[in-house]
């Protein structure tokens, strides 16, 4: 190989790797991002069953049912409509009724979200940002 060919080979390998990385990134952005919904969004434009979504809102008053071992059922609401969520595990410290919450999981065919992650707000002043913004748009929740 001449020097020029070598250099071309090196540059070619590099470009190939970059192309691979770019392709992976685009594919992953298309596949592995989850959209954020409020219950009303889901009512207006239902997501496909089996899709992975993030659902945010307030924990509906009186909807939390514990008991079946570690399984918890509750409803997430934005005061327009609400969605049932099933979660198996330990709820975060700040999970309370009428408090903001973000759940992430797969939507079942029956419209119940099987969550694998439940996030409550991080501290007393922090509301999950998507929830806070969406609720403010709807006028359901105000910052103190």
């Amino acid at each position: 190989m001449t020097r020029k060919q070598k250099r071309l080979a090196v540059i070619g390998t590099g470009m190939g790797f970059l192309a691979l990385a770019a392709a992976l990134t685009f594919y992953a952005l298309g596949q592995q991002t989850s959209y954020f919904y409020m219950p009303a969004d889901l009512a207006a434009k239902p997501a496909a069953a089996g899709e992975r979504i993030r659902l945010g809102g307030l924990v509906e008053q009186g909807s939390v049912v514990r008991g079946e071992g570690t399984r918890v059922r509750f409803a997430v609401t934005d005061h327009e409509s609400s969605v049932m969520v099933v979660y198996d595990g330990i709820l975060p410290d700040l999970f309370r009724e009428e408090q903001g919450v973000v759940t992430e999981g797969v939507l079942g065919a029956d419209g119940v979200l099987v969550a694998d992650t439940v996030l409550a707000k991080h501290d007393e002043t922090y509301m999950p940002r998507e929830v806070a913004e969406s609720l403010k748009e709807r006028g359901v929740w105000q910052e103190q």
Binding site: L18, L24, T25, S34, Y35, R54, R66, L91, E104, R129
Partner: protein
Amino acid sequence: MSVELGHFALVLALALALVQSSVPLAGARLGSPSLMRVGEPTAIAGLGLVAIAFAVLTLAYVRSDFSVLNVWENSHSAKPLLFKITGTWGNHEGSMLLWVLILSLFGALVAAFGRNLPPTLRANVLAVQGLIATAFLAFILFTSNPFTRLVPAPMQGRDLNPILQDIGLAIHPPLLYLGYVGFSIAFSFAVAALIDGRIDAAWARWVRPWTLAAWAFLTGGIAMGSYWAYYELGWGGFWFWDPVENASFMPWLAGTALLHSAIVMEKRSALKIWTVLLAILTFSLSLLGTFLVRSGVLTSVHAFATDPTRGVFILAILVFFIGGALALFALRAAALAPGGLFHPISREGALVLNNLLLTTVTATVLVGTLYPLVVEAVTGEKISVGAPFFNLTFVPLFLPLLAVVPFGPMLAWKRGDLAGAFQRLHLAFAAATVVAFLSFFLVDRASALAALGIGLGLWLVFGALTDLAVKSGVGKAGPAVALRRLKGLPLSVFGTALAHAGLGLAVLGVVCVTTLEEEHILTMQPGQTVEAGDHRLRFEGLRPFTGPNYTEEQAHFALFGADSLRRGSIVSSKRLYTARGMPTTEAGIRTIGLSQLYVSIGDETADGGLVVRVWWKPQVTLIWIGALVMMLGGMVSLCDRRLRIGAPARRRAEAAAGEAA
């Protein structure tokens, strides 16, 4: 009075930083040694003034001076002394002050220990450093002043977020900032060299210790942050691909690339343009991280839009420094002389490959971090890019890098011998493969992927050891000779081996935990037991406990080994901080060998049971041990004699010049 003295010291530091950023630059242009030397005393005095300001703020925290707005907002007189002190930098204003303190510290270190630098370069470096200090001091004083007073002063503060009342937090931000901000020196060197228009192999050696120090601190800082999240948040995860974490990880990736490309530049004068660009990019990523974390843009794009003072100020700083440096780069880069040539299979080639892979993964992480912000700003749609994205992109791109790491140090400069390198590594490869196979067949639930990952981690560790063995001539010479030669090896060789082995250990830990971890979620009645790993936990019951500023319900568990012998107990609790009425979960963690048993508790059920989550985390501590070994590698390299060659005594230098001529 003392509070105002701190405020005044900070203002004075800004005045000095202004002088530091302009006078040496003018001196370098006019060729005046006196003007150029102004940078040194001002940098050292500037550090003194910022340190006074920081000490005064800390004192205000210690003495619960609620006439300082910042203290009132973030402290409470009932807080333990340690957390009063760490509370100083547990908030926006205080942490920015710490940022500038560390920036000044690095500037002062260059001033004090930079006698080996040519005067013009030193003057320019200090001027650029002064410019960064000016920008951030102005940011603090005009948008985030920690010395704003509160009249009349309240009698009690509003406490610190209990999640932040933790010893991990006390060490984590300072270490992280030491790394983050340390890269400012590499940036200043790059810009100074561009201003001067002259960059050679010696430049790479001068910038190397600073990059190494920053890298080592950042490694430690990231590891600390990861461990903090692991045991404090109670979710048992060690890395969440959270934007705040990514903000510190990106400079680390770019800094690692810089560390490697600077070696090529020093040894072969090659990759000059690329190295300078990397130095600029690394600190730019640090600035971007500061912007993401400090502007509030992560919490809410809209909040950023409604109260934009801080965000816009940092954004302006970001644009000025990145834009300015890149413009200067574009202007001057073409004039730089190209470096030496090399064969693709060579030490240089390996380091170029390292750089290619590292910068690519940096770009991937950058895309994943910024994409949701961009999408929301453009379309208003909210999406989240989480772990699945990074697992799909980062992991496959990073794996090939890990696979080729052991080859790098084995290859000769200019033209390497791949077959020879592999021959020397065959023992390491065989050993790693054997262990991988053994773990696949012997360890329960070990998948092929897990075995592959374990093999990869061991390959890195054994490869690093092989490097040491080969360089000290084990096998060729007798053991006594080999030992003597091992002792005589430059420290930087040990540093390299340690850093690579540490990387291997961290990989091992990550692979073991992600593939072999056991998780049990169950409701437990007192007396009930659960198996995890080879151990058994018996729930003993809940007991109330009162701490200095919290009350808690402690769940006690008795721990039994595989031999059914009692091995002590684990306590996990739900804690309520009274001042803010805020609950937190304190996980119970027991280290057994390199593995850990991790217990966190949930709510009590109606029938008197307790929801309990138990993880068996095999070899999890290796993640952080590996990071510490990497950090140690950096430190050892830093002690290498070569990095400390002082300024030549003038006579000797002249003699050398004469001799060379």
